[in-house]
Point group: D2
Chain length 142, copies 4
């Protein structure tokens, strides 16, 4: 993620409001990007299992989680004028979805390696969303 580092340094100087916490932002973007693709791959691996029925809930929660991660990355990449209420609610949605997905994945983690990896990525992403949420206080949006 070399370019993301450079870009964040560049936009932090020129585009972002001064109250943005750049390290937290970088961490949240990186965690959501990774969780997005891990959840998509894990959902696909769930679909591929012969004994698929026990993984239906896992597959669905993974797809939801991936879609929320995509949305978080998109909103965080436009931090200058975001509606703070919407961003906070989205970060809460993503953190909750990551936790729900991790919880479900843990049930199958001994049997399926992809569920174990997905649980770890989701837990890391839930923490990063929560940390980012704590830097975005309610108030008049920019």
């Amino acid at each position: 993620m070399q370019y993301v580092e450079e870009m964040l340094t560049s936009v932090t100087r020129q585009v972002l409001p001064t109250e943005i916490d750049a390290p937290s932002l970088r961490q949240a973007i990186a965690a959501c990007l990774e969780c997005q693709v891990i959840c998509q791959m894990s959902a696909d691996a769930c679909a591929n299992e012969a004994d698929g029925t026990q993984l239906t809930r896992c597959l669905r929660l993974s797809l939801d989680c991936a879609d929320l991660c995509v949305a978080v990355v998109r909103l965080l990449s436009r931090s200058g004028n975001t509606d703070v209420t919407a961003l906070r609610a989205l970060l809460e949605a993503c953190a909750s979805s990551c936790s729900a997905c991790a919880l479900e994945c843990r049930k199958h983690a001994e049997q399926y390696e992809h569920c174990e990896i997905c649980a770890q990525a989701c837990e890391a992403c839930a923490r990063a969303c929560q940390a980012e949420l704590e830097t975005r206080l309610e108030g008049p949006s920019a």
Copy 2:
């Protein structure tokens, strides 16, 4: 949206939990699909204006709104096992983003027709998300 009607009728019988309110779901999906594309087109029209600087905030809020609408459609299309806390927070995020975008668009609506149309689509979508939110009570997810 003929196929959406048919599909919702079909999955309501076979896939969705009985507590799902099908008319509200249909309304929310239709409103978010339309708002998604309207916001993307309006953002593009904002970018195209020679006097772009006064539309920067409008452009950004429209892109945020479009991305949240895409996410809502995706989660609503998998209503069987969604994490209710995440879905509710996402619907709140989308309703707030729609309202913020509509408010900003209204400021430019006399000058720019695309802002007027975007404001209307966002207001309709905010109402549909709010209505759907009221049908999804907190509780143990399916």
Copy 3:
């Protein structure tokens, strides 16, 4: 899709290059929006079937198709400066994916109503992408 009509009329006058065929564009956007949500719902219904293994390929092709439809809507909503080579290749990708998904859905359409509906939406979308493709000739992009 009342707002889409109004917006297309508005941007056709002010934003879009004169060579854009507005009825074909409207048709392609509407078909892709509908196919996007139908494929997402059909994939979810596939995941929900107890006898899921025979629907694994159907589920995956539906998710691919939905993602390509989302991308087509996004690029078509910014028709002013699109790289024509990229747009043409994406329309070809979407048309091919819709056809592949429809073909697979047809195999299960007698047993599963959601597969029948998905096949119809995919076939309509493949035609709309193909028609739009024929209006976008290679050449120097705007």
Copy 4:
């Protein structure tokens, strides 16, 4: 991207067809993930410039490129049953869009640091898509 490494190793053993080239796949996924967020941030920085009109084309091409990168990541994360014709066309679309965006960004790179970074990320992504394309030969899909 530690989890992506682990997941790819895991699914390469269990889910992916043997003809998949895992290093190329990993490279393409990583490049598209990074390019997705770089293009979104660069588009936002373009929108933020006071002298926005000269960046309109740059902003639009960046948004197109981001959307194609998102689609590539999604399809590549489901490599088991993808329609090869669609995947190849999408990779071509993404490579072309990345090249067009890089070319435009280069015009503004001396003046705007975010355009320089975006050009580099797009060029790297175009190469990764092209390399992945060369591993996916036409033929009967899995």
